[in-house]
Structure formats: structure tokens, C-alpha cells
């Protein structure tokens, strides 16, 4: 078979992966990230449905393979645009689900619409497997390599074009795959190729803008939409990258006056500001500055200004500079030098160039340096030493309040991160972290616990002497000092708090009579929590607390996950009485997504499999073969996702990690699949199970040794330039991925030789397992850490060959005795 025949498989596979990555982006903009995740994982069940469809309609479709492939790929292209246009018009309001469960009906409608492109795209690949049962290794290789290119390509593409344009290009790619496939048609070939090619070209260049426009469909409760409701407010600049859509808004009639944590003692109105929204939310501001520090005096009266009271002309590092509010504060407070670290290059560009005059050129001053880096990666590699590390508030209050980030790993607030920060501090240096105040406390107590453990790990005997916590009515700032606070420091902290009506919730020497003075809580949870976390009852307190405030670690970096099952009944009872804000929805949504995906998988895959049991696949032990492909699908994704998380730290950016690890795993697994095909051609099919066994043993060995070796490798090579680190990452992934690419085609060839009808099922089951696995990986990592996730995946790999081995041998024995082989 000429490889050219399989090129459409690569193209459609690239388009599917690109569409998946893109939908994540699109829904993060119009809804919120966790709902985006939910919608897309369910949509991916289109894979499972396509497996069922192809299994039933295999014969007529395979007979007309080029035409069926072309039609399906064309439908993918059309559905990619139309389903999204339809889904974004549904009046689904994520925030209202608590109050009105009927909202879930709209969510279900989104699932159905968004499933369509995945259904058509996966049908193409399922057809290819069915049409070339003897070249499964090759088909799989083309599929995986296409997927790898699609994933990496979309990330690259999103740097160049807006998501709405990318959606057009993905649809065009589907149509191009259709045109290419149509070249194999027996009749009407050139008519089909010509019209599909033309459709691809037209789609790539132009579509009615209303089909792909995002703005009008963004949730009306997002900060950007709210800001634009104000008279005369308008968008003055827009930038897009895979990291987010940045929208700059000016509002001359009713100015933005963004100053979280501002004291009630302040009387100054903040100067003119431009708001910068990321994905329509998470606001930061560019503040107009003409060089006169008096115009921003109000910044002295925010909780984040506390460290400047105890440090003289500090060399300041700001981890997450955003619009530059903290840079301005540092300059006003007389910082010696300021290093402003920001992860989004477009944010830096806006601040340093587009709005440089507006912000008074603060980023271009001789003593200010901008660094494009992820916070943690910068702290782990910098050779500079600082007096102050500021970690400001960058997430929106509503995001924090809704628990949106709970399912995201975050390496900024782990025990190891705080140790890294302490390491770059000069002897009298201080880390200052500001968070939104939530009552009852969650993140602030977790941060306090994390700092305590980090200080102890650095050999500090009395961590309480290194910590200070103050709070306003809506923010809290925690100071972590490298050396114990002196009596003068404590006096300065108390003085600062008193001047601004802030409460001191912890400082060395504080007593119960000093707390809860200005912003009175019915109980001083913060002070009481601090005392408990510093004392002998720490473990008991953490255990008894109804939110999870145990420190986050690099192995379990879920700082924003506070959810505890045992608090759920009480919180559910209270949620309509005004307690809705105490439920962290992120985790629950993840669980709900998993349950839904499992149920839908059963309906889409297992039920038809059972109903059609008499029609085909009699020669295969369906349950065990099904479990085999389920185990592989689960294990592959578990390892892949655990490695993405692990490589975030090394590659210094979540985006690099996703792109490099995903592309690396897919492409090298594709190579492994091709190698397996050659191997089988050389040694014959009979040895499939043995080959699988060999492959999984190698996988288990490599995965386990990486668990132990990677942290050491990373530590040594962290200082290498980016390109070298990407090369190292790919080299590390290659051997593991090559072997991980083998069990699927080997098993499929093995089973397909007995029953070609089972091939589409296997493909569908594997697809569904990948969906479940993506959700499961996040849930498992929150509970057992990445180490646990990799261990589970290894166990699944090791069990897999046994599922195939037993029935194959027995089947041969039974058939030789003239028995019906398969009765499951």
C-alpha cells in the first residue's frame, strides 16, 4: 500500500486534535475554563459513537471507502463550524446551575452539538482501520503523527491568528482531507475533488463572520461584558495567543478604579486606568502615570504595601507583573531595582510598547527589567538575589470565589516553590503573597500551612517568628521572612495595619486580644488557624477543618483544591441559604464530568456492543478484548498527562509542556506503531501477545525509573536554554513513547485477525477510554499525586497482555475441539 493513501488519515487526525485544543480556547473565552473542560471531554465521546456506527455500517462503508471517508471528513469540516456556532448561541448560564438545574438541559444540548465533528472525524479513522486491517500499524502511525502535528500546530497557529480564524482553518483542513481522500474515488472523482478543494479554499479565506464571532456570545457575567455595558466603554486593543485573549478596555465616563485591598482610610481616587481582561475575565489594570509618585499614593494603603514598611530600598522581584500595579508600588516605595516577571509575552508587549506612554514608561526605566518567564521557573533558575519577592493577586475574585482553579495544577504555591523563593532571598529578605479574602478561610490558611512546612524544611525551628499575616476586608497579605522578624519589624507591621484599619491575624508575639479589631469576623478564623497550624495540634486541626488546607506539593500541586467530601452534605444543605460561595465547584464538576462520561460511554459503546453481540465478533472474547483496549486507552493518557504536569516545571511554561509532551508522545508512539507493524511482518502474527508483554515490561521499567530520575535530571538541566530543554524533553519521552505506541496496533491486529468487525469497536473503546482517562488523571492526581497516577498506569499496562493471552490460547484449544469459542 502506498503511504499516500493514508495521508488523509493524518490530515483528519490533525484536524480533530486541532479542533479539540481550539474548543478549549473558545469555551474558555465564552464560558469559564472548567466548563470548557466538561463540554469538550463529553464531546469527545463522538469517538465512541463513531466506533459503534462504523461497526454496524462497516460493510457498505468499506466498499465505498474513499467516498465514505471523503463524505465523513467533509461533514467534519462543516460540523466543526456549525456545531460551535450553534453551541455558543445556547442560553447556557454556568453560574445559574446551582439555582436552576434545568440549565443542565442546555449543557446537554451543547454536548450533542459539539459531539458531531468528533463523530465524523473519528468515523474517518475508524473506516481506515476497517479498510486496512492488515496495515493497522501504519494506519495508527499516520493517525498519531497527524494528531501530534495537529496539537503542536494549533498551539503555534494560535500565536498567529485569533481563535475564530483558527476555527475556519481547522474546518478547511477537514475539507482538504476530504478532497484528498476523494482522489481515490472510482466515479465522479474530479467533480468531488474539485468541489471539496474549492470548499476548503473558500472556508480557509472567508466565512460569514457571525458564524465564528465570539464577543456577542460571551457570558454576560464575565468582567469584560460587564465593563462594556457601561456607557462609552470600548475595546481599544485586543491580542490573542494560546495563553489567552487579552482585551484592553477604556471607560472614560465611569472610570475603572481597580485597587483591591484598598484601605477604608484612603481618600485618594486612583488615576485613570485601562482594564486588561484575560479571556474576558481576570482583570488587571494599566494605571496612568506621569512620573509623580504622589498620584499613586493610594497604593501605599493596600495590604500588598506592607513589606515596604520593613524593607529599605529593596531589590524587588515581582512574580506575575500583569498590568504593572506592583511595579508602580515598588517604584513609589523606592525599590532599588525591580524585576518584573510575566508569563504572557503579549502582556509585556502591551505594557512596554503599545501602552508605554500611558503607564509612564515604568517598564523601561533603567532600574526595571521585564522577564518573560513562568514565575516558578524564573525563581528556580535566576542567579540574582532579592530582598523582596512579591506574588500579587492576578486571578479575578469571581474565579477564586467559584473555585474555578481548583482542578488546575499550580506550581507557584507549593512547599518546594516557597523553598525555591527562600533560596533566592538575601538574608533579610521577605516573600509577600496577596490573596483574596474568603470566609471561612481556605487559600490563606493553606498558604500559611505551606509556608510553615517550607520554613521547617529549610531548618527553621520556630516558623511563627518568620511569618506575618494581615487582612483588609477583601484581601490578605502573608509575609514569609528568611530571618526571624525583629521587634522593630513587628512594631512596623502593627503600625502599618493600624493606620489602614487592617487587622493583624498573625505576627510574632501577637495575642488573642490584639486581633479582630477593624474588620470584625464573628470569629477570628485566621488567627485561630495560624495558632493551630504553628502548634502541636497542626495535624488534628488540618484533619478536622472542613476544607482541604494541607500544603500543596510538586507531586500534588493543587493549591486551589479545598474540596472535602465529608463537608459536601452540609454545604449542599446551605447552598441556597447563601452558602453557594462555600462550595468549590471545580472539583464537583470534574466528578460530574467523569460520571457523565462513564454513563455515556456505556450507552454509546457497551450497550450497542451487547445488542449486536449476535451480529458479529463471535470469534472474540468481547469483554476481555474490550477491557484490553480500555486499559490501554486509560494507561496511555494517564502517563501522558502525568508527564505533561511533570514537564511544566522543567520546560518553564504550561504551554510548552502541553505542546512538547503531547506532540512527543503522539509522534513517537506513531513511530512505535510503525515499528510494531514491521516487527509483526517479520515474525508473524502468532507472537503478538508475547510482543505486547515485552513492550509493557519495557514501559513499566521506563515509567518507574523516570519517576525517580526525572526530578534529578530536571534539577541539573534546568538552567539550559529553552531549545536545549525541549530537545532533552523529547529525548526523554522518545523511548517510552515508542513502546507505548506498540500495544494498541499489536492488540488490534491480533483481535482483528479473528474478527474484523471488532476493529471499530476497539477504536471506539480506546477513544472513550482516552476521554475518561483525561478526567481521571486530574482527579487521581489530586488524591494520589503524579507518582500515584504513573503507578496506576503502569499496573494497567502490566495487566493488559494477560487479558488477551488467556482467551486466545483457550479459543484455539476450544475451536480445535469444535466448540463455539466465544459466549460472553
Amino acid at each position: 500500500m502506498r503511504s499516500g493513501r493514508l495521508l488523509p488519515v493524518s490530515l483528519i487526525s490533525a484536524a480533530i486534535l486541532a479542533h479539540e485544543v481550539l474548543l478549549m480556547r473558545l469555551f474558555s473565552i465564552i464560558q469559564w475554563h472548567h466548563f470548557a473542560y466538561m463540554i469538550i471531554s463529553i464531546a469527545l465521546l463522538g469517538f465512541g459513537a463513531s466506533g459503534t456506527f462504523v461497526a454496524f455500517a462497516r460493510r457498505p462503508l468499506v466498499e465505498r471507502y474513499p467516498a465514505a471517508f471523503a463524505a465523513s471528513a467533509a461533514l467534519f469540516g462543516i460540523a466543526a463550524v456549525v456545531s460551535f456556532a450553534g453551541a455558543e448561541r445556547l442560553p447556557f448560564n454556568a453560574l445559574e446551575v446551582v439555582w436552576n438545574p434545568w440549565q443542565l438541559g442546555w449543557l446537554a444540548a451543547s454536548y450533542f452539538l459539539l459531539m458531531l465533528p468528533f463523530f465524523f472525524g473519528a468515523t474517518c479513522i475508524g473506516l481506515a482501520f476497517s479498510c486496512y486491517p492488515r496495515q493497522i500499524g501504519h494506519v495508527y502511525a499516520f493517525d498519531l503523527i497527524g494528531a501530534g502535528i495537529g496539537a503542536l500546530g494549533t498551539v503555534g497557529l494560535l500565536f498567529l491568528v485569533f481563535p475564530s480564524t483558527a476555527l475556519r482553518l481547522v474546518a478547511a483542513l477537514g475539507l482538504a482531507a476530504a478532497a484528498l481522500a476523494a482522489t481515490g474515488m472510482a466515479r465522479h472523482r474530479w467533480l468531488a475533488v474539485g468541489s471539496l478543494g474549492l470548499a476548503a479554499a473558500v472556508t480557509a479565506v472567508w466565512l460569514p463572520p457571525s458564524l465564528t464571532a465570539l464577543g456577542p456570545h460571551m457570558s454576560q457575567y464575565k468582567g469584560l461584558r460587564l465593563a462594556l455595558e457601561v456607557p462609552n466603554a470600548r475595546v481599544v486593543e485586543e491580542r490573542s495567543s494560546p495563553l489567552g485573549l487579552l482585551t484592553v478596555v477604556e471607560s472614560p465616563t465611569v472610570p475603572f478604579r481597580y485597587a483591591p485591598g484598598l484601605s477604608l482610610a484612603n481618600t485618594q481616587e486612583p488615576p485613570t486606568q485601562l482594564a486588561v481582561f484575560t479571556d474576558g475575565d481576570s482583570m488587571t489594570a494599566f494605571t496612568a502615570y506621569g512620573g509623580n509618585p504622589a498620584t499613586v499614593a493610594y497604593l501605599d494603603r493596600t495590604t500588598a504595601a506592607l513589606p515596604f514598611r520593613i524593607l529599605e530600598r529593596p531589590r524587588t522581584l515581582i512574580l506575575g507583573a500583569g498590568g504593572g500595579e506592583q511595579v508602580l508600588l515598588a517604584l513609589r516605595a523606592g525599590a532599588n531595582t525591580v524585576a518584573a516577571v510575566e508569563v504572557n509575552s503579549q502582556m509585556i508587549d502591551l505594557a512596554r510598547h503599545r501602552f508605554a506612554d500611558f503607564v509612564g514608561g515604568i517598564f523601561s526605566r533603567p532600574n526595571v527589567r521585564s522577564h518573560l518567564a513562568e514565575a516558578r521557573a524564573f525563581a528556580s533558575t535566576t542567579r540574582e538575589r532579592y530582598d523582596l519577592i512579591q506574588i500579587p493577586l492576578l486571578d479575578s475574585f469571581s474565579a477564586a470565589a467559584a473555585g474555578v482553579q481548583s482542578v488546575h495544577e499550580n506550581y507557584t504555591y507549593t512547599v518546594e516553590a516557597l523553598q525555591d523563593y527562600l533560596a533566592v532571598l538575601r538574608p533579610d529578605g521577605v516573600i509577600a503573597t496577596t490573596r483574596w479574602l474568603r470566609v471561612p478561610p481556605r487559600d490563606i490558611l493553606k498558604l500559611f500551612a505551606t509556608a510553615t512546612v517550607a520554613l521547617e524544611a529549610e531548618g527553621v525551628v520556630e516558623p511563627g517568628r518568620h511569618l506575618a499575616l494581615i487582612r483588609s476586608w477583601n484581601t490578605a497579605t502573608l509575609l514569609v521572612a528568611k530571618s526571624p522578624f525583629t521587634a522593630e519589624d513587628v512594631a512596623a507591621i502593627r503600625g502599618f495595619a493600624a493606620e489602614n484599619f487592617f487587622d493583624v491575624s498573625w505576627a510574632p508575639g501577637i495575642s488573642a486580644s490584639d486581633v479582630n479589631r477593624y474588620n470584625q469576623l464573628d470569629q477570628e478564623y485566621f488567627y485561630e488557624g495560624a495558632v493551630a497550624l504553628l502548634g502541636p495540634e497542626r495535624a488534628e486541626f488540618t484533619e478536622r477543618y472542613k476544607f482541604d488546607i494541607a500544603p500543596a506539593t510538586d507531586n500534588r500541586p493543587y493549591f486551589f483544591d479545598f474540596f472535602r467530601w465529608r463537608a459536601l452534605p452540609e454545604l449542599l444543605t446551605l447552598h441556597t441559604q447563601g452558602g453557594a460561595a462555600m462550595l468549590d465547584w471545580g472539583y464537583l464538576i470534574l466528578v460530574a464530568t467523569l460520571v457523565q462520561a462513564a454513563i455515556l460511554s456505556a450507552i454509546l459503546i457497551l450497550l450497542p456492543l451487547w445488542l449486536g453481540r449476535r451480529l458479529f465478533a463471535r470469534a472474540v472474547h468481547r469483554l476481555r478484548a474490550g477491557l484490553y483496549f480500555l486499559a490501554l486507552g486509560l494507561a496511555f493518557l494517564l502517563i501522558e498527562i502525568a508527564f505533561i504536569q511533570r514537564f511544566v516545571l522543567f520546560l518553564g511554561h504550561p504551554l510548552y509542556a502541553v505542546a512538547v509532551v503531547l506532540a512527543g508522545f503522539l509522534a513517537f508512539a506513531g513511530l512505535g506503531s510503525a515499528l510494531a507493524a514491521r516487527w509483526m511482518a517479520a515474525v508473524g502474527r502468532g507472537s503478538a501477545v508475547r510482543s505486547i508483554a515485552l513492550a509493557v515490561v519495557v514501559i513499566a521499567f521506563l515509567a518507574t525509573s523516570y519517576l525517580f530520575a526525572l526530578p534529578l535530571v530536571f534539577e541539573r538541566l534546568l538552567a539550559l536554554p529553552d531549545a536545549a530543554k525541549i530537545a532533552v524533553a523529547l529525548l526523554l519521552i522518545a523511548p517510552l513513547a515508542v513502546f507505548m505506541g506498540m500495544p494498541f496496533p499489536l492488540g488490534l491486529g491480533h483481535v482483528g485477525a479473528r474478527s474484523e468487525a471488532f476493529i471499530p469497536w476497539a477504536w471506539g473503546i480506546n477513544g472513550c477510554a482516552s476521554v475518561l482517562s483525561a478526567i481521571l488523571a486530574a482527579l487521581l492526581a489530586m488524591h494520589v499525586g503524579f507518582t500515584g497516577v504513573v503507578a496506576i498506569a503502569t499496573a494497567l499496562y502490566l495487566v493488559a497482555p494477560a487479558l488477551l493471552a488467556g482467551w486466545w490460547d483457550r479459543h484455539d484449544r476450544q475451536t480445535s475441539q469444535g466448540l463455539v469459542p466465544d459466549r460472553s
Binding site: W99, P255, E269, P441, K546, L574, G578, A581
Partner: protein, 250 residues
Amino acid sequence: MPPLAQCQALLAAALAIAVAVVSTSAPAQDRLAERAAMIETIKSHAGSAPSAVEAQGIDPAVLKAMGNVPRHLFVPEAQRGAAYRDRPLPIGFGQTISQPFIVALMTDLIKVGPGDTVLEVGTGSGYQAAVLSPLAAKVYSIEIIPELGHRAAARLAELRFDNVEVKVGDGYYGWPAHAPFDGIVVTAAASHIPPPLVEQLAKGGRMVVPVGGPFAIQLLMLVEKRRDGSITTRQLLPVSFVPLRGGRVR
């Protein structure tokens, strides 16, 4: 004019007046049972003793005021069916009408007296202003979004909440012409409390600010200006919740 025609004209006028009376008084009479049930729900939530409710419970005058305001006329047509359920409802423009229980708490917290002047920042649907209307001498309300402001003003006028005055504008500066205010309700979310509002709060006055998202109030902040001019704030949970299992912290 012939007598018959005169009679007809009189009859027509009487009918017109009757219709007018019915159309203005009917809404208030409408859905009384639902409103009574809503008040019971509020009482039962308050009875579970969250920190935002004082020992004696929510002031009966507040409950009476809420019992008289036709909430269903303050929500969009599509939401009218759910108007008396104890939940926030969307009113367009990314804004909501608060859950009745939260409205009751906020109104109760500012302790409005018959002679008081109250400022509301964020008119929204106008419902909170309508609830404040019978409790206070005068209610001033500022709305940032013109469509909402004009709609609420028309609705409040139509329903004869005559002591409420609505203007469209920037709430940051308060309404200095009518300051000082004995009570201030800030329903529009803000990253900080505008200094002019603190300034316009009368000595002994109370300001309440809900903190949280549009469909999930986290806590209510109460700002009090003492007789000596000093400021304190209290952060009150709308629910009774102890974060430690098996008792209170320490």
C-alpha cells in the same frame, strides 16, 4: 350633550378609572400566597441563626415591606414564574435581582428608621429600593447602566414608590446633594469601597456591601460609622457554618 350620551360618557369614565385602579392595585394583591410563602422561607433561613442576623431575628417591618412589594413585577417577563422562589434571578446586562433572603438581610442590617435617608448604589431592577421605600423617608438610588436605571425609575414611579429617586450615573461619588445618608446599600461589586461613600455616611450610619459573585454571595460587609466618626467593618456570613468538624475553632 343628550342625557344618554352623558351617562355613557360618565360610565366610560368610571370604567376607565376602575380599570386604572385595578391595574395599579392588582399587582400588589397578585400572588399574595407566594409572597407569604417567601416570607416564611426568609424567616426559616434567619431562624438557623447566621452571623448576619441578630438574636431577635429579621425586623418585622422589613418582612412586612417585602410582603407588600410585587417582586414579580421587578423581574423580566420570562422569569416571572420563578419570582418568589428563594433564588437570585437574571435581569439582563449581566445583573441579577438578589435572592429574597439576601435582600431581607441587607435591609435588616442597615436598620432604617422612618425619618432616614438611604442611598443605594446599583439600582438594578429597583426591587431593593422598593423594599426600602416604606421603611425610610427618602431613598436615592444610582444606576450605572442607563437602560436598567430608566426602566427601574419608570417601574418604581408606576407602582407609586414615590419617595424613591433614581438617577443614572457613576456611583463612586455618591449623591452629595442629599448627603449625609443614614444607610447606604452598595449592590454593585467594587474592588474597594469608594471614599466618598464613607464620607457621605452619617455618624451612626450603616453601609452594607454584599461580597461575592452574581449568583453566589459570600458574605455581607457592614460598615459602621460611630458617633465619634471612627469606622469599623464587620464581615457577616449569610449562613451558619463552622469550619471545624466537631465544634468551633479552639
